[in-house]
Symmetry: C2
Amino acid sequence: MRFLHTADWHIGKKLHGFDLAAEQWNAYEQIRQIAIDEHVDAVVIAGDLYDRAIPNEKSVTLLDDMLIDLNLKHHLPLLAISGNHDSATRLRTGSTWFKATDFYLNTKLSQALTPVEFDDTQFFLLPYFEPFEARQYFQDDQIKTVQAAMVQLVAAMRAQFDPNKKHVLVAHFFAAGSTHVDSETQIMVGGLNAIPVSDLADFDYVALGHLHGKDALHAERVRYSGSPLKFSVSEANQQKGVWIVDTDPFKLTFKPLRPQRDVRILKGAFGDLTDPAFYQQQATDDYLAVQLTDQRVIPNVMQELRAIYPHIIELDRVDGPVTTDTNATIVDPHLDPLELMTQFFEQTTDTPLTARQQKWAQAALTAATKED
Amino acid sequence: MRFLHTADWHIGKKLHGFDLAAEQWNAYEQIRQIAIDEHVDAVVIAGDLYDRAIPNEKSVTLLDDMLIDLNLKHHLPLLAISGNHDSATRLRTGSTWFKATDFYLNTKLSQALTPVEFDDTQFFLLPYFEPFEARQYFQDDQIKTVQAAMVQLVAAMRAQFDPNKKHVLVAHFFAAGSTHVDSETQIMVGGLNAIPVSDLADFDYVALGHLHGKDALHAERVRYSGSPLKFSVSEANQQKGVWIVDTDPFKLTFKPLRPQRDVRILKGAFGDLTDPAFYQQQATDDYLAVQLTDQRVIPNVMQELRAIYPHIIELDRVDGPVTTDTNATIVDPHLDPLELMTQFFEQTTDTPLTARQQKWAQAALTAATKED
């Protein structure tokens, strides 16, 4: 069979305050189109459908619309699990009805041991879990880690293997060899201990969620799909997309997604970034982490930049901290107040006070002194 | 056809801090049994399935279990709407899949105008709504009240009437003639303006939710079912239950529910209520609003009563405020401190200070005076 592997949709996620709903819907539509064009038999979503345990109403509607569109309108079978960002209990609402249309949404550890069979393949849908759930399930106090739990879970799954079929594990955890990036919140650092890829060798393919880059792990048949969107500046250089997996013969194809509004790092001097000759060549609407190479103070720097680049998500000075112009004389605190004000104005704006401004400043200082 | 009419389940509701989950499940099981015994063709739930817009995970599981049991396990068709306590958006999750098993859960105003047909009956399932939703739907700025909206809604429903069928409206609002009680939170006092029963005369039956007593309205064919449980002391004297409705010929039968733990008012003197001869004849485990007829101060009164009646939800003095014993001399503020303390102790505990207590009191007073 052929299926599409995606994960980490994180519906409801905000990027430094910016709502991503429109981009999330756009990415979803691309995924649906790939599923249709590639004639897949099913779509696998490996956890973190929502960004949080209690998504807001808008997010509830958005995900519901996607799942209805995919499963009920386009009749695509769905194989999904809850991730660490989802509330398993809330996500499960209604899932008992979903099976009638080949939408399998597993949110309980125990469900992982009843494979879902499609064509030539047995899918083991293992939701995100914490070690205590495995302890309870196996009645084994020795299970202290996810790794220990996985050893028993894999053995129990293997006992269900139909030798005439292929075996695919869908899971949401941290597999050994992968690297963490910023946007995966570390809720359970201890619980997310790494699963060695060698422990997963019994499967023909392991469709993982949790890490957001497809290259987080280098193993032929144990793969993260990554998220459909870049959710952090640390993901700026990742190519987002989905895997198309053929089970027999095994074949893996990556299908990239085009971001509607990219997340990029924009590095340069303030003067260059605000030069029309430069920015007119830029996708100024992207989510930008601006790295300024200037060291001098730039008045209203964020306001000036946002007038050109409305979606700045980070602003950093990459060549050391902001200082007053290093060539300027240090302001002498013994100067009289008017002189002090004049120097400060000049140094921060690179413009001298006009005669009129000088007069206003003098009047203000006189008034202030009188009030003493 | 024959259907069961219930409403206002308020899953997740607490009664003065007491969790009602066990009682709610018990009441649910009684409702299911009535539905089975009466061979109903469908169960109508007229809104407020949850007690709040964001129910906790335990409540989500509880309601999910009930609906799965009723619709998927016992194959009972369900006709339900969202009430003012529900989040329409959250309640709607998965509802698109429910229809396949004859579970119709309407949460949008527009859905009310597509009747659900069962046997000889058209059901119009109108969720709780606010006037602005009707304004938007009808594109009519003149709709300022629920009543104004209902006039247009009923006209639009009537346009859908199949003259060969019966017509049932399921709705969640305040109908004229009904009386309010404590446990219906007044979120939208202006929006919940009354709908005159005469505006509903086109229907063969109107199955209402919102008010918690079946006798809140006196109209033959416009009925509140009331809640399955007593949710407030003001409901102590209500008989809870469900309606069994036959459409042709029309017949209405009330089926009572037995409370697992009743809500009752218990009135009497402290001495009587704490007398084994009395309380051994009582269902001491009930949720009790205790009305004490005593006027004297009773030390540790709540603790003493709770030792016998663990589920006290209210404690009042019904024969005027607590006073010191009216036969006692008023304490003279000119007395010396030790004498004052002695009199206060005697009056509030009906016991004199022992010699040892007197000595301790004297020592404490001496120490306190020294520190001055």
